[in-house]
Subunit: 427 residues, 2 copies
């Protein structure tokens, strides 16, 4: 039995081979995303992985169907596994925004799906950190969401030598386009052409732009010579005040391919240009209105950051920590008559917050110790009964091999205090 092509299995580390993904690495980045969102005062939401097909075609047109994991369900509904989170967010916001004070700061970590022709290395699913601010037009909100993006990456120990936020303005590009092409219906084609400028060869770009009556040289001049818009200036100034100036630069090569952006747009890229974009986003002030049939009109902005490029980058920079069970203690049971007392000790350790393990079955002393070492436990603990009948706990630190003997309750308290200090970032 095989898994479906272009889907992933996530195994505990050490992962057996390159075809297999690390569940620990995934949890590591999820924890960093969630923790950074918490510090920024963002609240978590989620919607169903399956939505009606219309939710996605309404926003992106029927041409998106070719890329969707869509099907007809048993109730004869046209449905799709969600390819992005923003339509679900817009739907949820439109339904219940009255119950929330503005601005709303919300995030989610959905799994997203697509169905394109299978290509080597091209997955049909990924996870994405989605963060959005709803109900604020001021560029201060744009700066806040970009700061969140920066600090999410810094929480994973990436620095300004590793990545940069390239900041641009869809509004500026929209003005550039409308001053040169009267056919507003072709704006999407124009955004697509600019979006692909860095990846396509020059003649293709020239032809596409030419069909819109726009010269490649004009585009190039705009990219290299444009001053930041007032909005972009405000965003930059705000980020500089936070001490985050090193992480951003204005770069009009960025436009974002999707049709619905209306203001500031941005992408996070690795500094060496070795990977695809790490994250991208921007302002989409008209989308909630569109998705709610005009009932709710709220400005909004956000970004999405996928797990795949991020994992590749962290791996390349040596920033994925080695993961194991994180055992605080392995309890050695060398005298089977002490198994009931040892089980009670293990229960007490776990209730106190320690990660504790042991051998289910009688094993030779050296094999139990070997297992403790394999599991990279911080300590071993062994009960002993004195001649007077009282129990003591012998602790051995597996790092420095130092030993100490304590009453069992004190051993539990000691190990629990170390355990608490060993887990700085919740996950």
């Amino acid at each position: 039995m095989e898994r479906l092509p272009a889907f992933r299995d996530f195994y505990p580390e050490p992962t057996p081979h390159a075809d297999v993904w690390s569940a620990d690495a995934r949890q590591h980045i999820f924890a960093a995303w969630r923790e950074t969102a918490r510090r920024y005062g963002f609240r978590e939401y989620d919607g169903p992985p399956l939505e009606s097909l219309e939710l996605f075609t309404r926003k992106s047109g029927d041409e998106i169907v070719g890329q969707l994991y869509n099907f007809t369900d048993k109730g004869n509904r046209a449905v799709a596994l969600r390819p992005e989170m923003t339509p679900t967010l817009a739907r949820m916001v439109a339904a219940h925004e009255r119950n929330y004070k503005k601005p709303m700061k919300w995030f989610a970590i959905p799994q997203l799906f697509r169905y394109e022709r299978a290509q080597k290395g091209r997955l049909r699913e990924h996870f994405q950190f989605n963060a959005d601010i709803i109900g604020e037009t001021d560029p201060a909100a744009d700066a806040e969401i970009i700061a969140l993006l920066i600090d999410s990456l810094r929480a994973l120990k990436l620095t300004s030598s590793d990545f940069v936020i390239r900041l641009s303005s869809r509004r500026a590009w929209q003005q550039f386009f409308s001053s040169r092409c009267a056919d507003a219906g072709r704006a999407y084609d124009f955004y697509q052409a600019i979006d692909k400028l860095e990846r396509e060869d020059e003649s293709a770009s020239r032809a596409k732009l030419g069909s819109l009556g726009i010269k490649l040289e004009d585009v190039r001049a705009f990219i290299s010579a444009s001053e930041p818009t007032a909005e972009l200036g405000a965003v930059l100034k705000n980020l500089v005040a936070r001490g985050l100036g090193d992480f951003v630069r204005i770069d009009y090569n960025i436009i974002r391919g999707l049709a619905y952006y209306t203001g500031v747009v941005f992408e996070a890229h690795d500094q060496r240009g070795e990977f695809r974009a790490i994250a991208g986003g921007g302002r989409y002030d008209g989308l909630v209105k569109l998705m709610s049939d005009g009932k709710v009109d709220l400005p909004a902005l956000g970004f999405g950051m996928g797990d795949v490029v991020l994992l590749e980058l962290l791996k390349a920079r040596g920033l994925l920590p080695r993961s194991d069970a994180g055992l605080d203690v392995f309890v050695l049971i060398e005298d089977e008559s002490l198994r009931p007392d040892s089980l009670k000790l293990i229960e007490d350790l776990r209730i106190a917050g320690c990660a504790a393990d042991y051998s289910f079955i009688p094993l030779k002393s050296d094999k139990q110790f070997k297992r403790a070492v394999e599991l990279n436990a911080a300590f071993t603990c062994r009960l002993e009964r004195s001649t007077e009948g009282s129990l003591t706990a012998k602790l051995k630190n597996l790092k420095d091999r130092s030993e100490r003997t304590l009453p069992p309750a004190e051993a539990v308290a000691f190990l629990a205090s170390l355990s608490a200090s060993r887990v700085p970032v919740p996950h």
Copy 2:
């Protein structure tokens, strides 16, 4: 635009109305599950939400298709959204078990799907805590998985007054059946009849059992008079040694409906009998072999605990904590000339681990304070510039309204120290 019927949206609290689920409550139970699994030395894994249809029909027969969310994908593959995690686990274990020492202790928190005729209150998806031990035949492993189940519920503050684990033996029932009915092919019908005994009326049960040549009275006598098997005795003794005896009782009414259990089986129920089962599981020693075409033969056991009944129970017992953004501090910006310094302070607070928020735009002092109170922030913090030009931070504790003035860096350190001590359970 509506979400699909029988799917759920998860909103931040306070959730707007009864139709809507709390993303915070969901995170609360996910965190308790994950944290308890960590203490028990269980490692996280995950597979795709979509699998080939055959993965599920191989284990459960074609009759399961009527309950599956299955469809034919664009590549003409028969696929299904996973209805349970065990087939995926068995597939993953069969593929790579050689790389892991036994026993393997693994867990996952998948979203699962089904497609039955829509009924009121019947959902088409739920989340489930799945924990399994692979590679150990000793009843000590059965005791360990049951202890994990008990402590997962205790981590949510449920006590032995709230729930009980009803412990039984599929093996004992199998022997009961084969001593009375020669047609081994009808064993599944028998398990189903016993499983429904408490919920169906007597005449229906009597008829089903009669068709197998078995008397209801014999079944009743077996349930009320049977002694624990040696296995069950070992499990009980183990749990009593841990101090968990109050949480379990032998109860042969339990048999579990699924075909593949082979030994100890169990369910967690609320003590008042108001809800469906909270969790259920058991030993399934032949399944990995079946799923791997005989290539890998490993004993295994585990349980699944869904989020829906658990949330209902926690709600009924008043054990769902009130959730908010958990703000450590709301920074008041009353003098706009201090906005850049305030933004730096906010960045420093967040980097130090505090959850910090503020107003994006200039707002009257009292409105900012009102917002801080609405968000239930622990403190407000306001920068002031002295006549000599140095900055100080004025902190106000919103609980006791006490105030203190500190240099900004000390205010950050002070708030960070409180923040760290406020988060006992990671999430």
